[in-house]
Symmetry: C2
């Protein structure tokens, strides 16, 4: 793909002014990557400030057949926002206002560029709560959260992004603007376009405004950390907790390698001989949170946990969380390339999946760290490697295929919360089957006949192989 003709760049400048259109190589480099190791240079970067500008950019791109790659903060972990094949990087971070925060209707309306944690803080000040909390909440944007249907630890009890979206403003591939859903939780008027666009990874339309529902902020949270001497006991404990009639708000796991890496780079006092630790939170009314924490504690003891630390106050809880939050940055320091997967299995299959991941680690001689959301079966096996080591990368590729195969064999899915993007597109057929794939492809063709929206993503035919 050649750099865009000057004429088109001038047209873009005409739409939104010179200060919102970038063609210098150093500017384009800034928007060439995401949270993966894939990198592609866009021909031009545009930063619209209003829906109308987005609409005019898409109308132009559709007319000229130019690829458009919508993106927010670029924290994605599946290559969903990298400008594969060049074209326009459509950066939505300037559309970041909270338009409305309505306590009575318990909803908020915002632009796609709003940082997720800023939404958290704004609504919590009002005694309200927006549960989805992806690991990158402090930097990722709500538009990206909707486009990928982000999850996070609290999804165990509260569900994922799709469960909180009431309505969307979407610019279609040809520049038309539609409004899906609305301001009510109950809405069954025609097809559920809101959830069709949620998780569509920028391939069906560009999200320019988001209405989310909010819930009352839980009044209390109890946090505990449990240590285990072997993985079997850990797995049994996870199942026992979920079988005890309690849904913790989070149930996070770190395996031995994750513990060691954390202790090496940002010591948290974790026992380095432990096979795994579980970080568990219950919430609700104080009495409910404490009762459920008591149930979990009893189950953990019975299941054979080697140690249980209950946080006595928010400061101690934050200290327990520090270890979990340190994993991702810490593993990034072992080797230059970190590949974070999110293959997900039914929760009863977590022990089996952990076993399979251990076998994959041995078979391909790789540094594979396991952590993630054990309670909903959404593990994050992270492979640490060096993308410049061709031999290692071959083993990595085989290991990734083996991880997906294991997840599907155990009744799971390729992706729990990161999306398919560029990296998992070659594997899509294995999960959807020929007919399922044909259906999603037909929807893509219907809504984006020119294939300008995020081309090369999600679909195996477009993914250019592995």
């Amino acid at each position: 793909m050649p750099v865009l003709p000057d004429k088109l760049v001038r047209e873009l400048t005409g739409i939104m002014g010179r200060e919102r259109v970038f063609t210098a190589r150093e500017d384009r480099l800034c928007y060439s990557y995401d949270g993966t190791f894939r990198q592609y240079l866009p021909d031009v970067v545009v930063k619209p400030g209003r829906t109308e500008e987005v609409a005019r950019v898409l109308a132009l791109a559709n007319r000229e057949g130019i690829p458009v790659h919508p993106r927010g903060a670029g924290t994605g972990l599946s290559g969903g926002s990298v400008p594969y094949g060049g074209g326009i990087a459509l950066v939505l971070t300037d559309m970041n206002a909270i338009y409305e925060l309505n306590r009575e209707d318990m909803l908020a309306r915002m632009g796609p560029g709003l940082v997720t944690a800023e939404l958290h803080r704004a609504v919590e000040k009002e005694g309200l709560f927006y549960p989805p909390d992806p690991g990158s909440a402090e930097s990722c944007t709500m538009g990206g959260n909707v486009a990928e249907c982000a999850g996070g630890p609290r999804a165990l009890k509260y569900g994922v992004t799709r469960d909180y979206i009431l309505g969307l403003e979407v610019v279609l591939a040809d520049g038309r603007v539609i409004h899906t859903g609305g301001r009510t939780v109950k809405n069954v008027t025609a097809y559920d376009l809101t959830r069709l666009f949620t998780g569509s990874e920028g391939t069906l339309g560009v999200i320019t405004a988001i209405t989310v529902r909010l819930i009352p902020r839980p009044r209390a949270v109890c946090t505990m950390l449990a240590t285990f001497r072997d993985l079997e006991t850990t797995g049994a404990a996870i199942n026992a907790i979920m079988g005890a009639g309690v849904v913790p708000r989070t149930l996070e796991i770190m395996d031995q390698l994750a513990i060691k890496v954390v202790e090496k780079f940002s010591p948290c006092g974790l026992p380095q001989d432990a096979a795994a630790v579980l970080l568990i939170e219950t919430d609700g009314d104080l009495e409910a949170a404490q009762r459920e924490a008591g149930v979990v504690e009893a189950v953990l003891k019975k299941a054979g946990a080697a140690g249980i630390k209950m946080a006595a106050n928010p400061a101690e809880a934050a200290e327990l969380w520090r270890a979990r939050k340190a994993v991702s940055p810490a593993v990034g320091r072992i080797k230059p390339t970190k590949i974070s997967e999110d293959a997900t299995v039914p929760r009863s299959k977590v022990p089996a999946m952990i076993t399979r991941l251990g076998q994959i680690r041995e078979q391909y001689h790789l540094d594979l760290v396991i952590f993630g959301h054990a309670g909903d079966g959404n593990l994050h096996p992270n492979i640490l490697c060096n993308r410049k080591d061709a031999d290692e990368m071959q083993r990595v590729e085989k290991a990734i295929a083996a991880i997906f195969q294991a997840a599907l064999e155990l009744g799971g899915t390729l992706s729990g919360e990161h999306g398919i993007g560029l990296l998992k597109a070659p594997f899509l057929r294995a999960e959807l089957g020929d007919d399922g794939l044909a259906v999603v492809e037909s929807i893509k063709r219907t809504l984006d006949p020119g294939n300008i929206l995020n081309p090369g993503k999600v679909f195996p035919s477009a993914a250019g192989g592995k």
Copy 2:
């Protein structure tokens, strides 16, 4: 539409046996209606017992261009399952098995013909909970619940059907069978087909198996009934409850006419001079349910409720519910035709909507009873009339249009939980706009190019006018 040629009836018999294919007029009459006043005779009724039979019926119908109207128990309130234009009534009530009830993964898998209340009872025996509870739960089927995205009183706290569907087996218009979603709450692999089919009202595919997620059964419920002397106070109380940081599991309203009708036909001891009553439930752990009930009670008193009755035990709670559950049957006894609407507004607009409904009642001189789910803005204005009274029916038509206009003007939607079906199709454009309508129409054309699946429903172009 003529009766199907014998050759095709024989082909249907070949697919599933003579005992599952019905052509006698009295059999066809049984499947000519639903919960509305619309009635159309199908040419043939088939009752498949397996997915493969459904697939072969659709392949045949698609080849021959025969309309197919999928249905369960026919309790729908928007004319979504009546065999408009004749063709095949595809009755799924025999596919009613629970295939799996999995405590560890907290999910259940079933056929579309399973009666909703039977699912409730089966999972509650295991300490689990399936929240959606449409008013017809004792007779409606899960397939219909998914096809219409059913709600019910408990949706206020727990959400609607779409929030509980993990995966679907769907037969496409041409007989291909696909599986959407899976067994995990977190699943972002390609587009959200699960929720595209949920609420698609039988126009995109036929649902032949359903996987739902379950939650732990709440340990305690507190039930109370509050009486009000005027509607303004009632509206203010509703807003005050929701603003107090409590989400009751139900917040139901009955207006004065609803109270009078109930007291006439099935006396429950409601105060007949009350302008409205609210039936409110809180749930959770006993302490949480009681604390929240206490908050609600205090808010009600402060807001000026004339009386509050708190149920001391389950028997008293059932007695309070008896009045609410008697409304629908009782209003049906006033006049021969009952039209139940479900226009929905943001909850802060409930008082305004009640005022508008009162004005509509006066303007068109109609018996209009208001009850429903005030907490989520999902009111059920019921118009009582006589379909044989042409003058009255003209006023009814105008009143219905006015109700929809009011809902949309207040930021609401045509349908909260009944679906668009036949009755609301003429109004769809007003809510979706031209471009939104074009998108849903394009999806319909893509997945059902021959327009055999439930033709005449949802889309205004096909609705044959009002």
